[in-house]
């Protein structure tokens, strides 16, 4: 089975091989399109990661607050809700169901809907990790913060969270790599990201193997880059003499 890599140099409309492999202006090659699809994957994933980190930290924190059982219950319900529904079904909920039930959402661009779906799905997992990180700290840390006269937000901000985040960097790393992989599900609502590209261009060019290979390699590169970034953060943030622990296997 001979590979034909020139397929990426072809113009998307005429099918002619373009000199230099890249088109200009409105004439684009499949290579241009591939980079644009990669851009969509990266922007969906990174925006969703920000949503997931913010919401996940919030939910994770309220599940550990002392003497607020209702907030903790709300946090637990949030995690159970988003963890027990498949991501693809959640994407359909955000894309088809919610705009039908809440009319103002009809004006939301698909990008926002997919980012919310992916971000909130991941927030439940990050909430679990943040909670585990806070609970892994000795109780004395919390009491020490209280004894110094810190308010609850203050001792979370200055005492608990800085150490909790350091502890959970390894699971956060794999969750961030997961978000890139999970963003592939956005193909189902026609976001022009890498998987959608693989499906569409694979069919259009009748060269699916080359196209799938390129897409697969780009996913692997994305995951590797995220992994290296987190390894760098972990190294920079390391506190001398403090050994952080990883968590168990499993998950996607």
């Amino acid at each position: 089975m001979a590979m034909d890599w020139m397929v990426f140099c072809k113009d998307t409309l005429t099918g002619d091989v373009m000199p230099g492999c890249l088109g200009s202006g409105r004439d684009i090659t499949y290579l241009n399109w591939l980079f644009s699809a990669w851009g969509w994957t990266v922007s969906v994933s990174l925006t969703a990661l920000v949503v997931a980190l913010v919401v996940g930290s919030l939910i994770g924190v309220i599940r550990t607050l002392p003497s607020s059982p209702w907030l903790a219950r709300l946090g637990n319900a949030w995690v159970e809700l988003f963890r027990n529904i498949p991501l693809l079904v959640q994407i359909f909920l955000w894309y088809f169901v919610l705009p039908a039930l809440v009319p103002p959402m009809k004006n939301f661009p698909p990008f926002i809907l997919v980012v919310l779906a992916l971000g909130l799905f991941t927030s439940a997992r990050i909430a679990e990790q943040v909670r585990a990180g806070i609970l892994a700290l000795p109780k004395g840390q919390r009491y020490a913060g209280m004894a110094l006269g810190f308010t609850t937000p203050q001792y979370y901000r200055y005492v608990l969270l800085p150490m909790a985040y350091r502890i959970i960097i390894p699971p956060l790393t794999s969750e961030s790599m997961n978000i890139f992989k999970n963003s592939a599900v956005a193909f189902a609502v026609s976001i022009p990201e890498l998987t959608q590209y693989a499906l569409q261009v694979g069919e259009e060019t009748a060269r699916p193997i080359e196209v799938y290979l390129a897409v697969t390699v780009l996913y692997a590169i994305s995951a590797l880059v995220i992994n290296r970034i987190f390894a760098w953060i972990e190294k920079r943030a390391r506190v001398p003499g403090f050994v952080s622990s990883g968590t168990g296997a499993g998950g996607h």
Partner: protein, 222 residues
């Protein structure tokens, strides 16, 4: 505000559209769990064998599978399996092969952690009473590894059940597809998506409650 009408939910709808999909999702989960644990255990044994020619290919396989999105793996297998066996296969058959191959990589990491959690003394004890490698694994190490890893294996099975919805990419008829087809036929897609949500939630939540109960039981035994 849209008027929701759930009156279409009756036995006829369930029988005509949902059951077929539900059975396939359950079948796929069961086969992928059984096959995934079997091949995953083999991969884990290869990685722990201490022989480079066994360890390296297993590690490569596991790492490649784990760095590619499941949707892409589903598309790859749907493309490659017919090329390899020389005839077209159905989406459902392709999905089964894909999930066994994909989950084997994830289960192998769980089994590897499980085998490594067994104290070295157990291995030596098996060797000391004259057991071969196979006997030692079968009678001493693996039973304990399975027991230690049971909660993680079950959690992975719940994730696997949710992931079966991704066969949407190749158009296999699973639980989600069943609801979607019903929604199209009755012109009520919003209602059927909501029903699909509730169905997946109820199944996954019940399974995870079972896992929690098992966790508690194991915690008491120790």
């Amino acid at each position: 505000m849209l008027n929701l009408d759930f009156s279409l939910l009756n036995w006829g709808l369930i029988q005509n559209f949902i059951l077929k999909g539900l059975w396939f999702s359950i079948f796929l989960t069961a086969v992928a769990t059984a096959g995934g644990i079997f091949f995953g255990t083999l991969l884990a044994l290869m990685r722990l064998s201490g022989r480079k020619w066994l360890d390296a290919p297993a590690a490569l396989y596991v790492n490649v599978m784990r760095s590619v999105p499941l949707v892409m793996v589903i598309l790859w297998f749907f493309l490659l399996v017919p090329l390899m066996i020389g005839r077209p296969i159905g989406a459902e058959y392709s999905a089964v092969v894909t999930f066994v191959a994909f989950e084997a990589a994830y289960f192998s990491e769980i089994m590897r952690a499980g085998i490594q959690s067994i104290p070295r003394g157990q291995v030596f004890a098996g060797q000391a009473v004259g057991m071969t490698y196979a006997q030692n694994m079968k009678l001493v190490i693996l039973p304990q590894a399975f027991r230690n890893m049971l909660p993680v294996l079950l959690t992975q099975t719940i994730i696997l059940f949710q992931d079966t919805s991704l066969v949407y990419a190749i158009g296999a008829y699973d639980l989600l597809k069943g609801f979607e087809t019903a929604g199209k036929n009755y012109g009520r897609p919003i209602e059927t998506y909501l029903m699909a949500t509730v169905t997946y939630f109820v199944i996954s939540y019940s399974l995870s409650s079972v896992v929690k109960a098992i966790n508690k039981k194991i915690a008491i035994i120790r």
